[in-house]
């Protein structure tokens, strides 16, 4: 069971419009949301529903066009570039669908990128051990499989002991078996370290491992439900 306590995130009427090429995209239309410490959230929705945008705003990668976002006592809404960078640096761990590892650095060095710049990080080796990659410490991304790369990305995200772990389609590029391994790593981080975790996916099966699930469509949250129990990742099927 997760520790559901005070709200760490609160979003009020968050709206986001951005320009892509020559078109205006309305990604979020008035989102209201609270996240408690230690929760494991899954945000479900089809492509274009606004889930990545929501994650980016929570993670301080983007600011809303309208509305408010707060993390504890940090107001992220109108935060400056420097303040957002600081927030991300010290509080947030990101995992992206396509891993975004630095190809010219080994697994260990990719994690070291993060441990170099924060106070009181884990050692890179520790983080990689948590995701089961000790035998691959000195391999380059090109020498790792998709699943292994994603686990390096997770290790990189957690090495700084973040308060929040945000995962954008972590298993999107992976097959079932590998995907399960990755989800197990994320699950372990949430249970053992108590990190508030949010996972975005279009794969409904993943929702079963969450505390709460949000369904999104066309920039709105259309449904919110709580799971009575959380299924372990190895029981998920898609």
């Amino acid at each position: 069971m997760s520790n559901v306590s005070a709200s760490v995130f609160s979003l009020r009427d968050v709206t986001k419009v951005y320009r892509m090429g020559e078109i205006d995209v309305h990604a979020l239309r008035g989102i209201n949301l609270d996240v408690a410490a230690g929760e494991f959230l899954v945000i479900l929705g089809p492509s274009g529903s606004g889930k990545s945008t929501l994650l980016n705003i929570i993670g301080g990668l983007d600011t809303p066009t309208a509305g408010h976002v707060n993390y504890l006592d940090h107001n992220l809404t109108q935060a400056s570039e420097a303040a957002l960078t600081d927030y991300r640096r010290n509080h947030v761990g990101f995992v992206f669908q396509f891993y975004n590892l630095i190809p010219s650095l080994t697994a260990r060095e990719n994690v070291a990128l993060v441990t170099d710049i924060v106070k009181n990080p884990m050692r890179p080796e520790e983080a990689l051990d948590l995701v089961g990659l000790t035998p691959r410490l000195d391999h380059f991304p090109s020498q790792l499989s998709g699943g292994e790369q994603q686990r390096v990305a997770i290790a990189r995200a957690i090495a700084k002991r973040p308060d929040v772990l945000l995962c954008d389609e972590p298993t999107g590029a992976l097959d079932l078996a590998t995907g399960v391994v990755v989800l197990e790593a994320i699950d372990r981080v949430n249970r053992e370290l108590g990190t508030t975790t949010a996972v975005i996916t279009h794969n409904a099966a993943v929702a079963d491992m969450a505390d709460r699930v949000f369904d999104m469509a066309d920039g709105h949250v259309v449904n919110e439900r709580r799971n009575a129990t959380r299924k372990p990742p190895n029981q998920l099927r898609w």
Binding site: G59, L61, R88, L105
Partner: protein, 787 residues
């Protein structure tokens, strides 16, 4: 080491061939900077020390003949700290086995020397002993060329009789660092012997006992040079003064200063071109790298790296390359500098011209490199800062393409898709394409300008010796001689034609402007030595009045038809008014001409001549020259054939080296720009080209698309480069034109073709290297593209 720094070094290693190309371009620029300025510095410091050590005079004056008693009045002039008087005479000299005439300048000196002005540095042997009238010192340049030294003899034709002088020592003088005879374009050490002879002996030979014909002054600090020069001229006026000359206009000093100025100018101008190209290459490469690493940058920002940290990271790439280039360039520059000084030693005779690179130039070179690196990185760094991480995680919007102008005017139907791709690709990044075109065109321009100089000098020579001076021998007399005696010379065997001339030192005045020069009076319709305008047409001399150079006209602010005051500076020193009949745009000097008849009328003298031009029969050259050498009235003999030969020998060798470096550097720029552009294009289009391969295009067809884009850049650059080269050449001609010479401005077709060929070859080499990469495109990776 921090992981981010590791990334930097690994990235650099991945792009090492591009980085090397850029570093080399920068190195070339830095090398020129270090070479030019270190040579300038070495030359200048050596000059200052030499002038000071040997007490090089501040003011020089020549006079017909003044009594020694005058020296105390000269010394008493206010501001004069030291004054020396001498006898200086030009004679013809000869050596056993040498037929061509050589000039000897006899200069009197007191031996043993007691710290005189214009002191010599003894290099070999000893000073002449007092009471040994035939002992002389000879200058080192002549001694080396003619392989003579202490113990050898040299003949001097003094008053028509050959006298044997004994060389007892070899010396150097600050007055003759650049030793050039009047009438020569270039120093010819083998034909000008400077001979220092004991005062009494020289005076006796030329009826100068108790007198002098040359004055040298040292000024006290803070003294007024113009005032002293005026006072000196007043003192010397009664004795046939030719007008005093400050040090900066003394022949040797003037040439040396000129050379130093040119070194400075070149040292700024030439490296700047390279630095600009290098900064451009850095800019373009770094921008591309940032574009390619878009997602990595986004990830780094997501993870919490600040803009400052990332900016420093990417700037580091740029600065490391440019510092590496600067270090290579400094080493190369030092090596070039040593070579340049070696070349200078042939022309400028110093006791010890050593090349050294002052530490300040090394530091400046490194600083310049660093600045180039920083400047090159600016736009890329801004791109990094502006990159919104969220947006960067999204796949980039499809690049915007439009149909090009050519297609829109209806030619689309005739163009295969490959051609359309090439045109649209080049049109899609207009700024970058334009800059690449500009970069390659600079390479073309550099070649055009460099080769133009070769052509210009060839043309100058041709005009001088085939159009203007068509005589074989020029003869000057010891003093104005009757025309009868001169025309008698016509009867000597081997003489085909003689034209007489008279040179008179005058001062021309127009209003408050004045200029001292020698007027050249020629026969009415000269054939041998003519006045030529810039269209290479002979200018007829008016029966009355003056024809003068446009340059002189500017100095005196005169136009055709104006009257000028002519003050003759010899003989009875008459003053007359003359009309300026015509202004001529000639190539060399600030000259004034009139006909012999009108000059004689003006001077109210019956027709004396100071020199003659001979056309001779080549077969009879040797005996004729011997005969002429011994003719009493003849003071100097110049053989055109020998002048042209020595000019070709010295200049052309140096020209070849310069052309070689020119070609190398231009080729390097062309290679660097094309290689860089091609790598970037490959990086941008690689996926598209691989897709084409998957679809069934052959390697050749796909290479053609890539190389086609490069070909468009190079071909567009050629006319641009030729135009820039033409403009730069004209600018340089305008900048270097002086009173002494004006370069003709001509860019021959040969130059243009050569420039184009070098750039095409360079670009082709670069293209072939990149083609190998196209052949190895990873087709499979393309299929994994995500949208």
């Amino acid at each position: 080491m921090r992981a981010l720094n590791r990334k930097l070094f690994r990235d650099l290693r991945l792009m090492r061939s591009q980085a090397l190309a850029i570093a080399l371009v920068l190195a070339a620029g830095i090398a020129m900077y270090v070479a030019y300025f270190s040579v300038f510095d070495s030359l200048q410091k050596t000059r200052e020390a030499y002038y000071a050590e040997n007490r090089f005079a501040d003011v020089f004056a020549g006079v017909k003949r003044a009594p020694l008693a005058l020296i105390s009045r000269i010394r008493d002039l206010e501001g004069v700290s030291q004054a020396d008087v001498r006898v200086v005479v030009d004679v013809t000299v000869d050596l056993p086995g040498v037929t061509e005439p050589m000039t000897g300048r006899l200069i009197s000196m007191d031996f043993p020397r007691r710290r005189p002005l214009n002191d010599v540095t003894l290099r070999l042997g000893r000073e002449p002993e007092p009471g040994r009238p035939d002992e002389v010192l000879v200058n080192e340049g002549f001694a080396e060329e003619r392989k003579v030294g202490p113990g050898d003899r040299i003949g001097a034709i003094i008053n028509g009789r050959r006298r044997e002088l004994r060389i007892v020592g070899v010396a150097l003088s600050p007055e003759y660092v650049y030793a050039v005879r009047t009438g020569d374009l270039l120093p010819d050490p083998s034909r000008l012997a400077i001979l220092w002879m004991e005062r009494q002996a020289l005076g006796a030979a030329f009826n100068m006992e108790g007198g002098f014909n040359d004055v040298a002054l040292r000024l006290a600090p803070g003294a007024s040079e113009p005032a002293i020069m005026a006072a000196l001229d007043d003192l010397l006026a009664p004795y046939g003064a030719f007008g005093s000359v400050p040090r900066r206009l003394q022949t040797s000093a003037w040439f040396l200063s000129n050379e130093l100025t040119q070194l400075q100018t070149a040292g700024i101008f030439v490296p700047s071109i390279f630095l600009l190209v290098a900064a451009f290459l850095l800019n373009v490469s770094l921008n591309r790298m940032v574009a390619v690493q878009r997602e990595q940058i986004a990830a780094l920002k997501a993870v919490g790296y600040t803009n400052g940290e990332l900016a420093r990271h990417y700037m580091g790439w740029s600065v490391i390359i440019s510092i590496a280039g600067a270090v290579i360039g400094t080493g190369l520059g030092k090596w070039l500098g040593v070579g340049m000084v070696g070349m200078y030693n042939a022309f400028f005779k110093f006791p010890a011209l050593v090349h050294h690179v002052a530490p300040e130039y090394v530091l400046r070179a490194l600083a310049i490199g660093a600045v180039a690196g920083l400047v090159g990185a600016l736009t890329a760094v801004r791109q990094v800062a502006n990159l919104a991480p969220a947006e960067a995680m999204r796949p980039p919007a499809p690049e915007r393409f439009r149909q090009t102008l050519i297609e829109r005017i209806g030619l689309k139907r005739h163009m295969p898709p490959a051609i359309r791709m090439i045109l649209r690709n080049t049109a899609s990044s207009p700024v970058r394409t334009s800059l690449a075109i500009l970069g390659v065109s600079l390479a073309v321009a550099i070649l055009v300008v460099g080769l133009f100089f070769v052509d210009a000098i060839d043309e100058l020579l041709r005009v001088q010796f085939e159009v203007i001076q068509r005589q074989d021998v020029t003869v000057t007399f010891t003093e104005p001689t009757s025309s009868r005696a001169v025309y008698d010379l016509q009867r000597l065997p081997g003489v085909q034609q003689i034209e007489a001339m008279r040179g008179v030192p005058v001062e021309l005045r127009h209003g408050h402007l004045s200029r001292r020069l020698a007027i050249t009076a020629l026969e009415q319709d000269p054939v041998l030595n003519r006045v030529i305008d810039s269209a290479l047409r002979p200018v007829p001399l008016a029966a009355q009045g003056l024809v003068m150079s446009v340059t002189l006209g500017r100095v005196l602010d005169v136009h055709t038809g104006d009257l000028v005051e002519l003050h003759v500076l010899e003989g009875t020193r008459p003053v007359r008014q003359v009309t300026v009949q015509r202004l001529v745009d000639d190539y060399m000097g600030a000259n004034a001409y009139m006909t012999l008849d009108s000059l004689h009328q003006l001077m109210r003298e019956s027709g004396s001549l100071s020199g003659a031009y001979f056309r001779i029969d080549g077969a009879a050259e040797a005996p004729l020259l011997e005969r002429l050498k011994r003719t009493p009235v003849i003071a100097g003999l110049l053989l055109k054939r020998a002048m042209v030969q020595s000019f070709k020998d010295t200049i052309q060798q140096n020209m070849m080296t310069m052309v070689l470096f020119n070609v190398l550097f231009a080729g390097l720029i062309a290679y660097g720009v094309v290689y860089n552009s091609s790598r970037i294009v490959l990086s941008e289009r690689g996926r598209d080209l691989a897709s084409l391969r998957v679809l069934g295009f052959t390697r050749g067809e796909v290479s053609a698309i890539l190389l086609g884009e490069l070909a468009v850049i190079v071909l567009a650059a050629i006319p641009v480069g030729l135009a820039i080269g033409q403009a730069l050449g004209a600018l340089l001609v305008w900048a270097t034109n002086s009173e002494l010479y004006r370069f003709p401005f001509l860019v021959t077709p040969r130059t243009r073709v050569f420039a184009v060929v070098v750039v095409l070859v360079s670009a082709a080499i670069s293209g072939l290297i990149v083609r190998r990469r196209v052949d190895h495109l990873d087709l499979v990776a393309v299929l994994k593209v995500r949208e």
